[in-house]
């Protein structure tokens, strides 16, 4: 493969020639390999400063991988498709690592384009991988990996696209559309993760039953879902839809959140500039009428809204629209096919599921409890990544 080696591609780890073809899903050696990665991360003191690295470290432990495997027990005879090209986002440092694990667990060789920005998390993970690649018992795993960097180049992306059996493209509608213009093998499949927005659905009457500690924990979970990446993660809620009419509870929710925000969140001048600019441009873009609430720039809620919700999800940096619903059916008009995740509290998953099915909705691909917006699982964006990247070879 990759007959023409391009000098503009910088190889970080691995080499161009994948010696072996695809292999079975959840391969035993791969699970051992992932556990070694986990150990290295968790014992490396430099990783401790980065919660996202630690999360990944725990995530690829054997115990966790085996718990994922349970979901695949009904897939008896499956193996990879061949090689997968991973186009990872430039601004979520650990995303490439998860993508790599999905590629390996689904039995494939992997070409991974690393983010162009040099994140510490990426550098340290590469260092760990390099160290492991020198261990005799783990060496063979690196025949399945090629981690590269290259400056934005259509010709390289086109060349790599031609070589692989699958492409996983982590977002940006623009990038996805660009990659669709490159010729691929006829059977190459794509997993495009497009621009999406997400919301929260909370029953205010159920909040009423929480004691102070639990209320604060819920607010903390909501904070993690939203403020962690300045609300830029496509699974970060940008709106809260309230069920129930308990106004005191709603108010308390924002107060509890504000406490956490004041302790843990600080904008810099660049972000503050972007936030006020976004808010004003959003106002004029569609002549959106609303009233701003809370005298705190770090937590802005918009109420009395007459806005087009679709246009909202780009204000970010701690800005939420609030809607009150009489019942879940009123949510219907706010659901477009771009709606990805609903995080919920105080309402049963089944009720939300029935709502989606009953209304024959194209949007909503993830329904998870508040606090789990960022949980990267093999089912993402409505797609089972491991199932899709593998093929069945019999019943």
């Amino acid at each position: 493969m990759l007959t023409k080696i391009n000098k503009k591609i910088k190889i970080i780890i691995g080499n161009y020639n994948f010696k072996d073809g695809p292999f079975e899903i959840f391969d035993k050696d791969i699970i051992i390999f992932l556990n070694e990665i986990s150990k290295e991360i968790l014992r490396n003191s430099a990783c401790k400063k980065f919660p996202d690295l630690i999360t990944f470290g725990f995530w690829c432990r054997t115990n966790n991988i085996k718990s994922l495997l349970k979901n695949y027990n009904f897939f008896k005879n499956r193996m990879g498709r061949g090689s997968v090209l991973h186009i990872t986002p430039s601004n979520v440092p650990t995303n490439f690592a998860y993508s790599m694990v999905f590629g390996l667990l689904s039995g494939n060789n992997n070409i991974i384009r690393l983010p162009s920005k040099k994140f510490f998390q990426v550098e340290i993970l590469c260092k760990i991988l390099r160290k492991l690649s020198r261990k005799n018992n783990l060496k063979k795993n690196f025949n399945k990996l090629l981690l590269v960097r290259y400056d934005n180049s259509d010709s390289i992306s086109a060349m790599l696209s031609k070589e692989v059996e699958a492409r996983i493209i982590w977002g940006g509608d623009k990038t996805i559309n660009k990659f669709k213009t490159f010729t691929t093998k006829p059977r190459c499949i794509d997993l495009p993760f497009a621009d999406r927005y997400s919301i929260s659905l909370i029953d205010s009457n159920m909040l009423n039953k929480l004691n102070n500690d639990k209320f604060s924990t819920l607010a903390q979970k909501f904070f993690n879902d939203t403020y962690t990446m300045d609300q830029f993660g496509c699974s970060s809620p940008s709106a809260v839809f309230w069920l129930g009419k308990n106004n005191a509870s709603k108010k308390k929710f924002w107060i509890e959140l504000k406490k956490i925000v004041n302790q843990k969140y600080d904008l810099d001048l660049s972000s503050a500039n972007k936030k006020i600019s976004n808010l004003m441009n959003f106002t004029l873009n569609k002549n959106n009428k609303f009233r701003i609430n809370n005298n705190n720039f770090n937590l802005i809620t918009l109420e009395n809204t007459k806005i087009e919700f679709d246009s909202f999800n780009n204000v970010n940096f701690g800005t939420f629209v609030e809607f009150s619903l009489n019942n879940i059916n009123q949510l219907h008009r706010y659901v477009s096919e771009k709606l990805q995740t609903i995080t919920y509290y105080g309402i049963e998953f089944d009720i939300i599921k029935k709502f989606i099915v009953r209304n024959k909705l194209k949007g909503i691909d993830r329904v998870v409890p508040v606090g789990r917006a960022f949980d990267l699982t093999p089912e993402w964006d409505g797609v089972d990544i491991i199932a899709t990247l593998s093929r069945t070879i019999g019943n």
Binding site: P89, N95, N152, D173, D266, L269, S270, N273, F297
Partner: protein
């Protein structure tokens, strides 16, 4: 509308802060109300994000517009039957240009204010050289920030000359005669234009002028200079070196608020005049303390045909004090540190 006659009768830099604040707040509030009534965009932003203007008692609470809105929208405050012409920012660093909708009245106010602000620097018998094309004032670009500046300065001086010929080539012949005769003169140009069209040209042609009685006034367009890492000091030194000038005065100003510029004093600080005020905000958009860096917000009493009287810029600056600058001018004085850097976007929708 405002009592502009009074505004131009008063001395621009000598009202003590209490009086200035009272005078300025009264007028800027009235101007805000005018724009609220005449610009639907300003009205919508005010309604959504700010207190009702009539209830506002502090200048910091008045509704402002973020400077990016001038690039993305047509912001006009239209009074019936007024002719408004539109011009674009000369800025070329960003893709989109600011669109300013200027009527005759606002253009005149801007020219007059500019003249007033520099009246104590400019000697009435001086002649002025513009770093501009000979035919500029008769071209369609004359109705612009640049045009307003040239007209404003022109009115203060005896004779006007242009340093670029019809073909936009540098022509220093008249200037050289002035220097031989040891006459007083002024050179005016936009900062980046002086750097690229004058200094760079002189370097290439290896021209250096003898020490002379000239002064330079320049402003606007620091964006390109920040990129080249040319500081104010470096700029001044190069200009003095090549042109032999006595003094170089810079000013800070927004193209959205032409006219009410903030001149630099000999101590190196920019000063508010009676036409203008400045606020600096921190990352919570609260007002900064003195000496604390934040986003610069500029206010001007001049824009009538567009709601540009209160603009949050993307520049970072520091207010150093009020009424106590060693140069003797009263009012707030400040420095500008540069543009706010692009924030690193987080999230998963940007691959390259």
């Amino acid at each position: 509308m405002l009592d502009y006659k009074k505004l131009f009768d008063l001395n621009s830099f000598s009202l003590p802060i209490k009086k200035k604040n009272k005078f300025f707040f009264f007028n800027i509030k009235r101007l805000s109300q005018f724009h609220y009534q005449h610009s639907s965009e300003y009205k919508l932003i005010s309604n959504n994000l700010f207190k009702s203007i009539s209830k506002i008692k502090k200048i910091a609470d008045l509704p402002f517009l973020h400077v990016s809105l001038f690039k993305n929208f047509d912001l006009i405050s239209k009074i019936k039957n007024e002719k408004i012409s539109t011009f674009n920012s000369s800025g070329t660093t960003s893709n989109k240009k600011s669109k300013i909708h200027l009527d005759y009245k606002t253009a005149i106010l801007q020219s007059k204010a500019l003249g007033k602000i520099f009246s104590n620097i400019i000697d009435k018998d001086s002649d002025i050289f513009f770093l501009e094309n000979k035919n500029f004032l008769s071209s369609k670009d004359a109705m612009s920030a640049k045009g307003a500046a040239i007209k404003g300065f022109g009115q203060l001086c005896k004779n006007k000359y242009f340093l670029l010929n019809k073909k936009n080539k540098l022509d220093l012949s008249i200037l050289k005669k002035y220097i031989q005769k040891n006459k007083k003169f002024i050179i005016f140009g936009f900062t980046s234009s002086i750097w690229f069209n004058l200094i760079d040209e002189m370097k290439i042609k290896k021209i250096r002028l003898n020490k002379n009685q000239g002064i330079m006034i320049h402003g606007g367009g620091w964006k390109k200079m920040y990129k080249l890492r040319v500081t104010n000091t470096k700029f001044k030194n190069e200009v003095k070196n090549h042109l032999g000038l006595q003094k170089v005065y810079s000013y800070y100003g927004m193209m959205e608020q032409t006219g009410s510029v903030f001149p630099e004093c000999e101590k190196g600080f920019f000063h508010c005049s009676l036409f203008s005020d400045i606020l600096v905000r921190n990352s919570k958009l609260e007002l900064c303390k003195f000496k604390e860096a934040g986003l610069i917000q500029t206010l001007s009493l001049l824009p009538v045909s567009y709601p540009g009287q209160n603009v949050l810029t993307e520049d970072i600056g520091i207010i150093h004090g009020i009424d106590n600058c060693k140069c003797g001018k009263l009012g707030k004085y400040f420095t500008v540190l540069g543009r706010v850097p692009d924030s690193e976007l987080k999230g998963c929708s940007d691959v390259n």
